[in-house]
């Protein structure tokens, strides 16, 4: 019996509708960020980077939480589906973290006078990116799919420790990074800015869902490919065959 066929009716529906929803939300957020939100008094137009920077940071936490849950799921059950979901979520989370790491310095240069400083929030975010790159790279150490998934799952669980550290870093170490979400009692975001910020969060949530809908079927196809290779004797890792067949 071959593994489950990649895709399916729901997957193809999600692959069609989610990107359309994401694009509509992204266009609305872009309009809101450029024309609807007021110009920030001190920073000026460069503050508008915030509407795509901060929501990406929040949604990458969600992505790595999904990786964390999927990693526990894989170690507990050894079902390849958990590993496929964890890998998909890690790739999406890494893309979002990359967006954070690229847009942050572009905001910092005119505001702080430097692209990068080894400040707590920036440093812990870079560490987060490196940890989850490790999640993907650790798979290259072995040919056995089960071992690859186990190694990655351990990184996915231990690495998640950095997520609350990144979030709390602005409180614990009090660096230069703004504490946007912590401000309350009238001193926080302007209501219009908050609306655009929330729209940014919805945009990235839709993007995350779209990426998962596209990446999970690819993971299943990779599993099918491994199974076919084993069946034809193109790869020597016989031990992995039982695990892959169990996914069917």
């Amino acid at each position: 019996m071959s593994p489950r066929r990649p895709g399916g009716r729901w997957a193809s529906l999600a692959q069609t509708t989610l990107p359309v929803i994401t694009l509509a939300l992204a266009t609305t957020t872009l309009y809101g960020a450029l024309f609807y939100a007021p110009r920030e008094k001190v920073m000026g137009d460069v503050q508008r980077i915030f509407y795509f920077h901060a929501p990406a940071g929040l949604v990458c936490f969600l992505a790595f939480f999904v990786t964390f849950v999927a990693s526990i799921g894989y170690l507990a059950t050894r079902r390849p589906g958990w590993d496929i979901a964890g890998r998909a979520s890690t790739e999406a989370g890494l893309l979002l973290t990359t967006i954070v790491l690229v847009t942050g310095p572009l905001w910092a240069r005119p505001v702080w006078g430097t692209y990068w400083t080894w400040e707590a929030r920036l440093t812990t975010t870079l560490v987060l990116w490196l940890i989850y790159m490790g999640y993907l790279l650790v798979r290259r150490y072995t040919e056995d799919p089960d071992q690859q998934a186990r190694f990655a799952a351990v990184v996915g669980i231990i690495g998640f420790i950095d997520v609350p550290i990144v979030y709390m870093s602005v409180h614990w170490w009090r660096g230069h990074h703004p504490q946007v979400l912590a401000v309350s009692g009238g001193g926080g975001l302007d209501p219009t800015m908050r609306q655009v910020f929330l729209m940014g969060i919805f945009t990235y949530l839709a993007l995350y869902a779209s990426l998962m809908a596209l990446r999970i079927p690819l993971g299943r196809a990779e599993a099918e490919l491994r199974w076919l290779r084993l069946k034809l004797g193109e790869r020597p890792a016989r031990r992995a065959a039982s695990g892959l067949r169990a996914s069917g």
């Binding site: 920073m43 000026g44 137009d45 967006i99 690229v102 990446r215 490919l225 076919l228």
Partner: protein, 50 residues
Amino acid sequence: MEQHFPYLFWAYNLIWALITAYLLSLGVRQRRIRKEIDRLKESLRVEEKE
């Protein structure tokens, strides 16, 4: 602060570029795997006939 507009321009464009690059990489991987699966399935059919 008007001179800071290029930073905003580059930030927004780099976001789109990163997302597009990732989507393209998914497309390339998908095509390569699909092609390889079809090749192996064909080999399997030939093997079963023999």
